[in-house]
Symmetry: C2
Subunit: 345 residues, 2 copies
Amino acid sequence: MPSAPKKSKGQQAPDRPSRAGSEALLQGVLEGNRTALARAITLVESRRPQDSLAARQVVEGCLPHAGRSIRIGITGVPGVGKSTFIERLGLQLIQQGHRVAVLAVDPSSSLSKGSILGDKTRMQQLSRAEEAFIRPSPAGETLGGVARKTRETISLCEAAGYDVVLVETVGVGQSETAVHGMVDFFLLLKITGAGDELQGIKRGIMEMADAIVINKAEGANLPAARQARGIFENALQLYPPKPGGWVPKVLLCSATEGTGFEAIWNLISEFREMATGSGLLASERAEQNLQWFRQAADQGLLAGFYNRPGIREAYEQLREAVGAGTISPFQAAEELLERWNSPPA
Amino acid sequence: MPSAPKKSKGQQAPDRPSRAGSEALLQGVLEGNRTALARAITLVESRRPQDSLAARQVVEGCLPHAGRSIRIGITGVPGVGKSTFIERLGLQLIQQGHRVAVLAVDPSSSLSKGSILGDKTRMQQLSRAEEAFIRPSPAGETLGGVARKTRETISLCEAAGYDVVLVETVGVGQSETAVHGMVDFFLLLKITGAGDELQGIKRGIMEMADAIVINKAEGANLPAARQARGIFENALQLYPPKPGGWVPKVLLCSATEGTGFEAIWNLISEFREMATGSGLLASERAEQNLQWFRQAADQGLLAGFYNRPGIREAYEQLREAVGAGTISPFQAAEELLERWNSPPA
């Protein structure tokens, strides 16, 4: 959570920004002020209708300055060592002069206590660094809400001068697809050793990966990690080439010992060079944005429809009939839509 | 194409069935009359509004008698030998006393001349058999239209007493997902030998497969086919277990030489026994139907929205703004939906 905002230049920073307030906030973000960035994100995450206009102003003010980072998604099942991995990668990048933002997509964080990034003690060293900005997953939201807010937060971080954005996902559920749709490079973190190294990959995740990194490749674990690398390399061959002809790689690392990170960053840099030079980065991002637009419009429309009085009841009745096999699913859909076209009771 | 309908019991069979006509047609289907079945499918495939009620009556009349088949999806890229495979499998099943319906999902068939199953000479022996019913993909339709019509045709075939339904898909594009959503067992056909045996698997297809069958495993090809089997078996291990704990298998066959088909049918029978005994078959089918219902309703709603005058233009304008990066995709979606909620101009 952001600390209390500093007052700047005699300007009052009200709890609910006025037009002047949101302009000052935007200015702070563009100057790279971490407190202003944290407050701007809080504004974007707010569910209060009265914050909506100011949030929109801040996001739109940031958009022309956004886009200048490499966006990296990191996924892996719990226990794979994601936070140690991110901390180690982040610290290395800071040493090389980068500014690193770490975000998270975890729609479950409001329900469970297992919120990722909710506890900054997980990444103590990185969170103390001036050049890092760590933000937990927005709480109390559906996946759609989390995704929107994280997507807009990426733009805010970029406008604030962070040139590497790491987006962590919890590794279970649907959040991987959402994160895959907002990053340039998608990294799947795995471990080996317990005989279950190959378990728990959700369907479709492996196909999204631009790189698979096998963590905890250290000591007695090393032979098993090397063997797993071979298996993954073979499996990746079964998929068709990715956009731009990128061939996913399998790398080893040890987050606790700090080995393998140079090769990981080299690989990401190689990808970035290829994707920037070929125009792939720009075209993929434009495509992602058009997909978010369409998806958000579709979801808004559908939510409005199914929540309409009369429709919800009709939907449930028709669902029962479909489940009982007394009506074809398509005919049921037609009947539901007929209710929409007839005037509401 | 169905031949001209026989007149039955002095009843005129009009081109556009009356209520009495659709009842006679339904009766013919339930009696297992192939001509009646072909006519009923033509009715279901019709795009003429005046056929809609009769089609609905026939489908609803068939539903209580549907569901008594094993539904098998078969996919594979062109050149893999799908028609020879299906003919061989179909002939074997007929010899064992089954009645076999062969359908196809190919939304491209209206555009290209590569229509699958459009040419019955592809399966000459099978198409001559009394116990087989072969139907090409509905032409001139979107994937959604093809899927709906094929899904309803499955019910018609089952009501007509076909106890094995094979649904072929063209192996490129989105049709695999649609077919996967209407069958009990999904079979991926592969070949080996040309060095490209592992190419051309669309993303996500391998994960859907309940079995992978490597065709043309014959003569000098056999060692390569065996090697490919090992690679696929390793790759399949990387996926989480399927519903009911089913573990996908990799089998070899030669459709031209007729080898391997007993093992293939044994595997499908084993699956069917497991899925029937455990209740998985019934629950998966109910789930599929609910998904078709929701999907058809969603698609109908969205199509109605985006085709509305004013919305289409606003959508295109906002898409441009999103593409240019001057508006957040989410804010663009909100603006689009505001147009919906305001009264039409």
